[in-house]
Subunit: 158 residues, 2 copies
């Protein structure tokens, strides 16, 4: 990523970190089945300290992306939920590409998807989605499918 991407941070800009926190909140909700997310859970998930989470939550509240009761639960606003879902969608598409097409280990695919999900342009994401659609059309009959590529990878190793 370019380090100069953050130069023009207008008030309304959503940073990568903010997206990460929103996504984490969504994931925790999904895991616990409860829409009340706690600071500690977020800290654990993102591997940061609780004060870091508190600071970011404040920031997200200012941007009206989450609500937060003092000493209480964090919940996403409508806008926050939408953004979290978009990020998550990007994440999944990329993770599947990395795993199914490039044949990366689940763990590596997961990590790399985390990095790509914030920085890629909408156009690129669109294309990854289109590629997935294309791949899902019928069996691996010899078009742009991961199977053929993964076979090549295996052969190449020996």
């Amino acid at each position: 990523m370019s380090p100069r991407k953050s130069r023009h941070n207008k008030k309304e800009e959503i940073t990568e970190s903010m997206e990460d926190y929103l996504e984490a909140i969504l994931e925790i909700e999904a895991e616990t089945g409860c829409p009340e997310v706690r600071v500690s859970d977020i800290a654990r998930k993102l591997k940061v300290t609780r004060p870091s989470v508190v600071g970011m939550i404040k920031h997200l509240v200012e941007h009206e992306l989450v609500d937060h009761d003092h000493y209480g639960a964090v919940t996403k606003t409508e806008r926050g939920r939408k953004i979290a879902q978009e990020v998550m969608k990007r994440h999944m598409v990329l993770r599947r590409f990395l795993e199914e097409v490039l044949g990366l280990d689940a763990e590596v695919a997961e990590e790399d998807a985390c990095k790509m999900e914030h920085t890629l342009s909408d156009k690129a994401i669109e294309r990854f989605i289109a590629l997935e659609e294309f791949r899902s059309m019928g069996p691996d009959d010899g078009r742009l499918k991961g199977e053929s590529f993964r076979k090549y990878l295996k052969e190449r190793k020996s």
Copy 2:
């Protein structure tokens, strides 16, 4: 990108920014044909101010990635050159994938490659390289080639 990737910045860690500067220096050398690169050129290329460049050059000198005469030219050390070339190589592989497989415009492909080049794992890069090798094996005879996917993209649009 995860914002928490920079938490463990040991002295020897090379940041995305550092990579960007090294890459820019390499590009300017290639463009001018001259290994003497000036602060202004780097500033222009990376769209930052000259003081920012001076600050980063200092940092790169400390890390023995470039040499710099006061009020003079910037040149890469052996280590700096190696890193710059690696980053450039990643950049090219990714750019070609985005353009040739996903069919993105040259400009968008360029931008997205810039973002991906620093963050992707070595394993992912390896696979992008392997994919390129695979794609270069003969014509688009129906394996993991961009041509078929791009045809699909065109048909889908209508």
